[in-house]
C-alpha cells in the first residue's frame, strides 16, 4: 500500500491547480516556463516530498510568488536557486548540489558500476580463455547449439 504517499497527498489532491492556476501565471511565456521548471526542483519544505509546483500549501504559494517576482525582475535561474538556498538551506532543492558532502550520493552508484566492471576485467585476466576451437569443432557446436534456449 502506498500509505505514505496517500497520506502525503491527502492535502494535495484537494489542490489540483497549484502552479498552473491561471491567477498566478506570468504573462511572458518564456519567463513562466522558467518559473515552472524552477518550481519543479524546489521542495515544499512543509509538505512531504512534494515540489512547490504541485503543492497548494500557503508556503508553496508564497515561494512561487517570490520566484516569479524575481524572474520578472530579471534574476537568472542560478540567482533564484541561490536565494532559495540562502533562505532554506540545501534541503529546499530536490537536486542535491555537487558538494563534497554529497559525493557519496552522486558518486556511489558509479563507484559500484566501476568496481563491478573492474571485477569483471580482473576475472577475465586471471582466467585466460581456452584455445580457439578448430573449424570442425565450431561446426559441431553450431549444430548442437542452434536453437539453444535462452
Amino acid at each position: 500500500m502506498n500509505a505514505r504517499r496517500i497520506a502525503a497527498l491527502l492535502g494535495a489532491v484537494a489542490c489540483l491547480a497549484a502552479a498552473a492556476d491561471p491567477a498566478e501565471r506570468l504573462n511572458n511565456p518564456t519567463q513562466e516556463a522558467r518559473a515552472r521548471a524552477l518550481f519543479r526542483e524546489t521542495r515544499c519544505v512543509v509538505c512531504q516530498g512534494e515540489s512547490i509546483d504541485d503543492s497548494d500549501a500557503d508556503l508553496a504559494g508564497d515561494l512561487r510568488q517570490a520566484i516569479r517576482a524575481r524572474i520578472t525582475a530579471g534574476a537568472t535561474d542560478d540567482q533564484v536557486r541561490a536565494f532559495l538556498r540562502a533562505r532554506y538551506g540545501d534541503f529546499v532543492l530536490f537536486r542535491p548540489s555537487l558538494s563534497l558532502a554529497n559525493a557519496l550520493l552522486w558518486g556511489g552508484p558509479f563507484v559500484v558500476a566501476i568496481i563491478g566492471a573492474g571485477l569483471l576485467i580482473a576475472r577475465q585476466r586471471s582466467a585466460p580463455p581456452a584455445p580457439p576451437l578448430s573449424p570442425e569443432e565450431e561446426a559441431k557446436v553450431a549444430v548442437l547449439t542452434a536453437d539453444e534456449p535462452v
Binding site: N2, A20, E41, Q48, G116, D147, V150
Partner: protein, 664 residues
C-alpha cells in the same frame, strides 16, 4: 466468534511455523525423512491457519463488525462491498496479515514442490518456516489485525477515499505476492549456502520462483503507478517517492537475479553472485516493508507511527538478512565457478546488465536513505526526481545500448562483428527514428529524441532477435510458423519482456517531453485549448454516489478538425465520512494518448455565476507506460509456462531440440 477463531488460528500458525523450522533443520541434521516430511505438513497447516485468519478478518469487514478495532478504523457500513474486502489489507495490521498469508502460501508451495533434492528442500522449507516465525510472531505479538474493542463504535471511520479504487484494491495483493515470492528464492539461497552447493541444477530451481515473483511484482508496481496516474490528479505516474522506491529496489534486484541465474544455470558461472542477489532481493523487499510501515522516512504521515513497532520490524530485518549475509560471507568462498568466458560473450553482457542494475539499485537506495543519513549528521535534506532521473538515466542509457546485443551473443565467446552486422538495420531504424523525432517534434528536445531512439532500438533489437530465431524471410513462411510454435517459450518470454521495455522507454520519453498542460477557470459554455484539442465545459451537475456527493462536470473534447473525441465526466467528490475531497480524473483515450481532465474547485466570477478551475493534460503515448510493463510481466508468465521450468529436475531438456530435428 469467527474473529476469536481467526485469532486462535493465527497463534496456531505461529506455533506451526516454529515447528516447520525446527523439524526441518533437525530432520536435515539427522537425515530423517519422517521429520522433514512432518515439517512439510506443518508448512501446509500454517498456510491453512493464516488463510483462516484472513477469512475471519474479511468476514469482519464484510459484516461491518466494529467491535474489531481494525474494522472500526478502516471500514464503514456504506462502503461498497469490494472496498470492504479491500479494506482488510488497507491498514498496517491488515497488510502484515497479507504479507504472512503470502509467506505461508509460498512456504506451502515450496513444501509441495517436486523435483528438489530432499536435503535442499528440507532446508528451504525450514528457512521459510523461520521467516514465517519472525513475521507471524510480529503480527501476533505486536500487530494483531483481529483485536477486539471493549466498547465498539456504532459506525466505522471508513477507508481513506483515495484507497477506494479498483486498481488500488488489487495493487497490494500483487505487490505482496511479488515481494514475498522472493522469500522462496532467499530460502533456496540460504539452503544452498548451508549445503555448500550451488550448481546449474540449483539455478534451475531458482529461476521459476524468481520469474513468478518478478512478474507479480511488475504487475503490482504497474497497478500502483496507474493508480497514482489517474487517482492523484497530477498527471504524473512516477514520483520517486520512498514508497515507490521501496517497490522498485526489489524489482531491480529480481531483474538482475533473473539474468544472473541464467548464467549460473547454463554456464555454471557467477554462482556466488547469484546467491548474493537472491539474498539481497528479499532483503530489499523487507527493507521496503520496514521503510513504508515504520514511518521512519515520513515521521508525519505514515500509518504505523508507533516507533516501537518500527524497531521490531528493523529487528526482524536485521535477524533475517544479517544471518543470511553472515552465512554468505562464511560459505561463499566454497562456491567455485565452473567456467570462464571471453570479454565478448553473452556471459559478459549479462554481467554488465547485473552491474548496471546493481548501480541503479544503489542509486535508489542511496537517494531513499539519504534523509536518514543526513539526519544522523544532524542535517536536514533529501533528494528528489532530478537526482534520480539524471543518475538512473545515465546508467540505464548504457544498459539500453548493450541490451539488444545480449541475446544475439553466443555463450563463452562471441563474434562481435557478426552481432553488430545483424543489428545494423535495428541501429539504422533507431537512429532514423531519433532524428525524425528531433527534427519534427516541437518543442525540440535532444535528450527526449535520444530516449525515443533508445526505445526504438530496444524494440527493433527484440524484433531482429525474434526474426533471427524464426529465420524469417530466409526460410518458407510455413517453416517459420513451425519454428514459432516449436521453439521454447522461455525465449519468446524474453523477447516479449525486452519488447515491453522498449515500448515503456518510448512512452516515458514522449510523455515526459511532450506533455501539454492547460488550466483555466471556465464557466459552462466556455472552454480551453490543449494542444491539438479544444475542451468545452458543457455543464456541472450534482450527483450522489454510494458514500460521497459529487460535482460532475461534462466536458466535450474535440480535435482540431472539430470531430468529437469524447465527452469526459470528471468529478469532484466529497466523502460523507471525514468530509475529504478528492478528484475523479476523466481519461479520454485517443490511440496511445490520453486527454487527462481534472475538475477543480468552484470559483465565483465577477458579475455573478460560477466557474470551475479545470486542469487538463494531453499525455502523448502515455498508454505505452502501462502496456510496456504488462508485456514484460506477460513475458515472465510465458517463460514460466515453459515446460523446462516445470521439469526442474536438472536434466538437460532434449525434447525441444529433438522435435525440431527434421526442420534442421
Amino acid at each position: 466468534m469467527i474473529t476469536e477463531f481467526g485469532s486462535f488460528a493465527l497463534v496456531l500458525a505461529l506455533c506451526l511455523s516454529m515447528a516447520q523450522a525446527g523439524l526441518s533443520f533437525v530432520g536435515r541434521a539427522r537425515r530423517d525423512v519422517i521429520l522433514t516430511g512432518a515439517a512439510e505438513g506443518a508448512a501446509l497447516a500454517a498456510f491453512v491457519c493464516v488463510a483462516a485468519g484472513s477469512v475471519a478478518l474479511i468476514h469482519a469487514f464484510v459484516t461491518s463488525d466494529f467491535s474489531v478495532l481494525n474494522v472500526a478504523e478502516n471500514s464503514h457500513t456504506e462502503k461498497p462491498l469490494i472496498y470492504k474486502i479491500a479494506g482488510a489489507w488497507g491498514s498496517h495490521e491488515g497488510s502484515i496479515l497479507l504479507w504472512c498469508f503470502a509467506l505461508t502460501a509460498y512456504g506451502c508451495a515450496a513444501a509441495l514442490a517436486r523435483g528438489l533434492p530432499w536435503d535442499l528442500k528440507a532446508l528451504t522449507v525450514g528457512t521459510q518456516g523461520a521467516l514465517g516465525t519472525l513475521f507471524i510472531g510480529y503480527m501476533v505479538l505486536a500487530s494483531n489485525p483481529l483485536l477486539r474493542l471493549a466498547s465498539p463504535p456504532v459506525e466505522g471511520r471508513s477507508l481513506n477515499p483515495l484507497l477506494q479504487d479498483p486498481a488500488l484494491a488489487a495493487h497490494p495483493p500483487f505487490l505482496y505476492a511479488g515481494y514475498v515470492g522472493l522469500s522462496v528464492v532467499f530460502s533456496l539461497a540460504v539452503a544452498a549456502l548451508i549445503e555448500g552447493r550451488v550448481d546449474s541444477a540449483w539455478a534451475r530451481w531458482v529461476r521459476p520462483w524468481t520469474l513468478a515473483a518478478w512478474s507479480l511484482l511488475t504487475v503490482g508496481i504497474t497497478l500502483g503507478s496507474f493508480w497514482a496516474y489517474y487517482e492523484l490528479g497530477w498527471g504524473g505516474w512516477w514520483f520517486w517517492d520512498p514508497v515507490e522506491n521501496a517497490s522498485l529496489m526489489p524489482w531491480l534486484m529480481a531483474t538482475a537475479l533473473l539474468h544472473s541465474a541464467v548464467v549460473t544455470e547454463k554456464r555454471g558461472a557467477l554462482a556466488a553472485w547469484t546467491v548474493f542477489l537472491a539474498i539481497a532481493a528479499f532483503t530489499l523487499s523487507m527493507l521496503g516493508a520496514f521503510l513504508v510501515r515504520s514511518g521512519v522516512l515520513t515521521s508525519v504521515h505514515a500509518f504505523a507511527v508507533d516507533p516501537r513497532r518500527g524497531i521490531l520490524l528493523l529487528a526482524i530485518l536485521a535477524a533475517a538478512s544479517g544471518s543470511a549475509f553472515a552465512l554468505f560471507a562464511w560459505r561463499a568462498p566454497l562456491l567455485k565457478d565452473q567456467s570462464a568466458f571471453a570479454p565478448i560473450s553473452r556471459e559478459s553482457a549479462l554481467v554488465l546488465n547485473n552491474i548496471i542494475l546493481a548501480a541503479v539499485a544503489t542509486t535508489v537506495l542511496a537517494g531513499t536513505l539519504w534523509p536518514l543519513i543526513l539526519e544522523a549528521f544532524g542535517r536536514q535534506g533529501g533528494v528528489g526526481a532530478p537526482y534520480y532521473n539524471l543518475v538512473v538515466g545515465v546508467l540505464m542509457a548504457v544498459a539500453f545500448v548493450i541490451l539488444p546485443a545480449g541475446p544475439l551473443l553466443a555463450w563463452k565467446r562471441a563474434d562481435a562483428l557478426a552481432v553488430l552486422r545483424r543489428l545494423s538495420l535495428a541501429a539504422g531504424i533507431a537512429l532514423a527514428a531519433g532524428l525524425i523525432v528531433f527534427s519534427l517534434a516541437s518543442p525540440r528536445r535532444a535528450v527526449a529524441a535520444m530516449q525515443v531512439a533508445a526505445g526504438v532500438w530496444l524494440v527493433a533489437g527484440a524484433v531482429e532477435e525474434a526474426a533471427g530465431r524464426l529465420r524469417a524471410f530466409r526460410v518458407p513462411l510455413a517453416e517459420s510458423g513451425r519454428r514459432l510454435r516449436g521453439l521454447p517459450r522461455g525465449a519468446w518470454g524474453m523477447t516479449l519482456a525486452h519488447l515491453g521495455l522498449g515500448l515503456f522507454v518510448m512512452g516515458a520519453a514522449f510523455e515526459s517531453a511532450w506533455r501539454v498542460e492547460g488550466a483555466a477557470v471556465i464557466s459552462p459554455g466556455s472552454g480551453l485549448d490543449l494542444g491539438a484539442y479544444r475542451l468545452t465545459l458543457l455543464s456541472v451537475d450534482d450527483r450522489a454516489g454510494p458514500n460521497y456527493d459529487a460535482e460532475r462536470g461534462v466536458i466535450r473534447v474535440v480535435d482540431k478538425n472539430g470531430s468529437l473525441v469524447c465527452d469526459a465526466t470528471p468529478e469532484r467528490r466529497t466523502y460523507d465520512t471525514g468530509g475529504q475531497t478528492t478528484s475523479k480524473v476523466a481519461l479520454c483515450p485517443k490511440g496511445l494518448d490520453d486527454v487527462y481532465i481534472v475538475l477543480g474547485e468552484r470559483r465565483a466570477v465577477a458579475g455573478g455565476g460560477s466557474a470551475w478551475l479545470v486542469r487538463a493534460f494531453w499525455n502523448p503515448w502515455v498508454r505505452l507506460l502501462f502496456v510496456g510493463p504488462i508485456l514484460m510481466a506477460l513475458g515472465g508468465a510465458l517463460s514460466l509456462s515453459d515446460r523446462r521450468m516445470r521439469i526442474a529436475d536438472g536434466r538437460r531438456s532434449v525434447a525441444p531440440t529433438a522435435a525440431l530435428a527434421p526442420a534442421e
